[in-house]
């Protein structure tokens, strides 16, 4: 089994990267691989817990929550979080931790593969 690291730099909805990242990470977890994901730049908008849209039963934060439930470790860049006014991630779904680039450096030294989206 392998350890997969992800860096996601785009937010929910507007561009497709969040979906691709969730799809790859989910498939990896289901095959028994480990997943560590770092949310950087607009990537930190993905786990905001209050996302609601009448027509969409599954929101981006639900896809992130699914990864957490399957064992993914998810860290958001604190400088990016504060720059975007997200108050240290107080409105994030449970399981998403706010950290910094040193956490990403640690992911880099731990994983077998690195995917940036």
């Amino acid at each position: 089994m392998a350890k997969l690291g992800f860096m996601l730099t785009l937010g929910p909805f507007q561009f497709e990267n969040w979906e691709t990242a969730c799809n790859i990470a989910k498939a990896a977890l289901e095959k028994g691989h480990e997943v560590k994901m770092f949310l950087y730049l607009d990537g930190v908008y993905n786990p905001i817990k209050l996302q609601t849209f009448p027509d969409l039963p599954v929101m981006p934060k639900d896809r992130v929550a699914e990864l957490v439930a399957k064992g993914a470790k998810i860290t958001a860049c604190g400088i990016c979080v504060n720059a975007r006014g997200l108050e240290k991630g107080k409105d994030f779904i449970p399981g998403v931790v706010v950290g910094g680039l040193p956490d990403f450096a640690e992911i880099v030294s731990e994983v077998d593969k690195l995917i940036t989206l």
């Binding site: 730099t9 680039l101 040193p102 450096a105 880099v108 030294s109």
Partner: protein, 116 residues
């Protein structure tokens, strides 16, 4: 945990998106771990515009000087410059100019790649 080598490509030009500077912040960040991973930065395609002498580097200077102090190589793809009609004399001396083949050689030797 082990020391890792990472090749970071910057593909987007300044300043239409924030990647030209946040890619460098990430480069500094990757080297900041206890294991001191090793980073190489390569400018490809429109990213090569960042290496022009006249670019305003107010918000990137601190990252560039940290990277230089660490001995990080900053590379721009020769073919990208040629395609854009940029002469080598127009490039800031901080950047090495390398052909695609040598960039691929570097890519073969690193553990990971990242793109901005």
């Amino acid at each position: 945990m082990v020391q890792r080598s990472v090749l970071i490509t910057i593909n987007r030009p300044p300043y239409g998106s924030i990647y030209y500077t946040e890619g460098l912040r990430a480069a500094v960040g990757v080297t900041s771990g206890i294991d001191e991973n090793i980073v190489t930065v390569v400018y490809l395609g429109d990213g090569s515009y960042f290496t022009l002498k006249g670019v305003d580097r107010k918000d990137t200077d601190k990252y560039l000087s940290t990277l230089k102090k660490q001995g990080t190589r900053l590379i721009v793809q020769k073919e990208s410059l040629q395609e854009r009609g940029i002469k080598e004399s127009e490039i800031e001396t901080d950047f090495e100019i390398l052909p695609t083949k040598e960039i691929l050689d570097l890519m073969q030797r690193v553990d990971f790649t990242m793109d901005f």
